[in-house]
Amino acid sequence: MTATTTSDREIRRLGEPTRISTPTRAKRWLADHVVAIIAGFVLVYLFVPVAYTFVFSFNNYTKSNISWNPVGSPTLKHWENPCGAPGVCDALVTSIKVGAIATVIATVLGTMIAFALVRHRFRGRGATSALVFLPMATPEIVLGASLLTIFVQGFSKVGLQLGFWTIVIAHIMFCVSFVVVTVKARLQSLDPRLEEAAMDLYANPTATFLRVTFPLVLPGIVAAALLAFSLSFDDFIITNFVSGDSTTFPKFVYVSYLRGIPAQANVIGFSMFLIAVILVILGQVISSRRKS
């Protein structure tokens, strides 16, 4: 008896088809896929609030766009007039401007640091790494608070008042570290033999850099820039501390929460989501075409 069961088990382990009754098969399927099923639920969970934002952009609300008004909903009026609420498009424009400037400068500064860290041996390497890591390990509220104190008690004396430029400065500061990490990862994964090959083929260092190294690192730089823009665009806590009277899109939403958020904010929020998804998909399609 015992002999048969052992051999049975061995056969199953070898992957031979064994006859299993249906309930066991269902159980097995479930056991094999339970992780994937949980993953599916987690993905759905990530999108539930986005769906709410979308649905409430069609709400015909009277005072506050918090509860659904069945009378007159769904309505397209907020989509037809996305700048209809006072200040919402100004805030959006401010956010895009801040994001663009901060992204460009942070990407340049961060890429330079990443190159130095990966390609050079120098004194103070450990200290540099620590200085890059620390802003990411500091809670945003501490960054915001410390910038507020220096802007109010120090830099305002030399003419830098809280506003657009203090937001830009702050955003560059917290984006640099993320750029360094992203570009550094890409640089480290490069095959050094490609550059050696270019040198062997008599390319000078400049040509090697421009025609081999840089194109290979470029995807990492682009990824870092996208990350920097999205971090800047969605930042609220630091912005709230250093913005003075300027209003970015997240700050607009937060401030108007007390008075009732206009549905235009939902329209813009969901549009940003759509634009981002479309851009990412386009990028994927283009890069996969180029490969084939």
């Binding site: 609030p49 330079m112 390990a137 960054l143 939902n266």
Partner: protein, 283 residues
């Protein structure tokens, strides 16, 4: 040769100067403000001092807020981990050609402002929402509300920082050699043993990065507590810092002391954590 030696410094100076001027110096200033005293009779004006009393009042008056911040952030980190690991695992090993689509799905919600999504959670967890109605119909919701409770705050934190947990774990699992995990099975380890002794250690760098990227911002967050929590019993230390800075006249020193204490607390916890589970350098 000479230029080769100077090159790293030329590359480093602009970025490091930026971080020094707008990260290190402000922190020093924050430390100085945390020791300032207010001019008697002139609220909102301060003079340089070594007033340790700011720290004393920060800790005695707002100790509960510190406790809540650590507790809520810890719970949220635990929950994000439980949600993120199956997702990251599926993306790395089971998704096949769906991998990129899933990656987009994890990142995409970022682009709807997180404030909007947090407000959406307020609607999802509202008293007349299907979730709360179901729970109340089953009579298993003490108090009958979800919003204005710590549950909603922790749920909001869990949701908002989930991608920060998924992405590093996914990155480290994706880099792992699947043959190592197969080898576990070949050596007659059952599924769970392989997972425990091979898969989890392989993803440890991602787990550490993910827990830090979740815990640190969650402990300093005040948006979730503000939008989803109650006015009194669920405020976190971030709420106190924000209101001391903006709504309490003369609140700067205590607010600075609170911020400094929060940063020191988190830094100590992070160092102990990395020492305990440490892997290679994080940056």
């Amino acid at each position: 040769m000479r230029s080769r030696r100077l090159a790293p410094y030329v590359l480093l100076i602009p970025g490091l100067a930026w971080l020094t001027i707008f990260f290190i110096i402000p922190l020093v200033q924050l430390g100085a403000v945390s020791l300032q005293s207010g001019f008697p009779g002139y609220p909102g004006y301060y003079y340089r001092d070594v007033n340790v009393g700011n720290y004393a009042s920060a800790l005695t008056e707002f100790g509960a807020h510190f406790g809540r911040s650590i507790l809520y952030a810890g719970l949220a980190t635990l929950f994000t981990f439980c949600l993120a690991y199956p997702l990251a695992y599926t993306m790395a090993f089971k998704a096949g050609r769906w991998r990129n689509v899933m990656l987009i799905c994890v990142v995409a919600p970022f682009f709807t402002s997180f404030i909007l999504r947090t407000i959406a959670w307020r609607q999802i967890l509202a008293d007349d929402s299907p979730i709360v109605r179901t729970l109340n119909a089953l009579d298993i919701l003490p108090g009958g509300h979800l919003t204005e409770t710590w549950v909603a705050v922790v749920a909001g934190l869990t949701y908002n920082f989930l991608p920060f947990m998924v992405l590093p774990i996914y990155a480290s699992l994706e880099r792992a050699d699947p043959r190592l995990i197969e080898a576990g099975g070949d050596l007659y380890a059952n599924g769970f043993t392989t997972f425990r002794t091979v898969t989890v250690p392989l993803s440890m760098p991602g787990i550490i990065a993910g827990t830090l990227l979740t815990f640190i911002p969650a402990a300093g967050d005040y948006v979730n507590a503000e939008l989803l929590g109650s006015d009194t019993s669920t405020k976190m230390v971030g709420n106190v810092i924000e209101s001391q800075f903006f709504r309490v006249l003369g609140g700067f020193p205590v607010a600075a002391a609170l911020s400094f204490t929060l940063m020191a607390l988190i830094l100590v916890m992070v160092v102990i954590y990395i020492r305990r589970f440490g892997t290679e350098e994080l940056v």
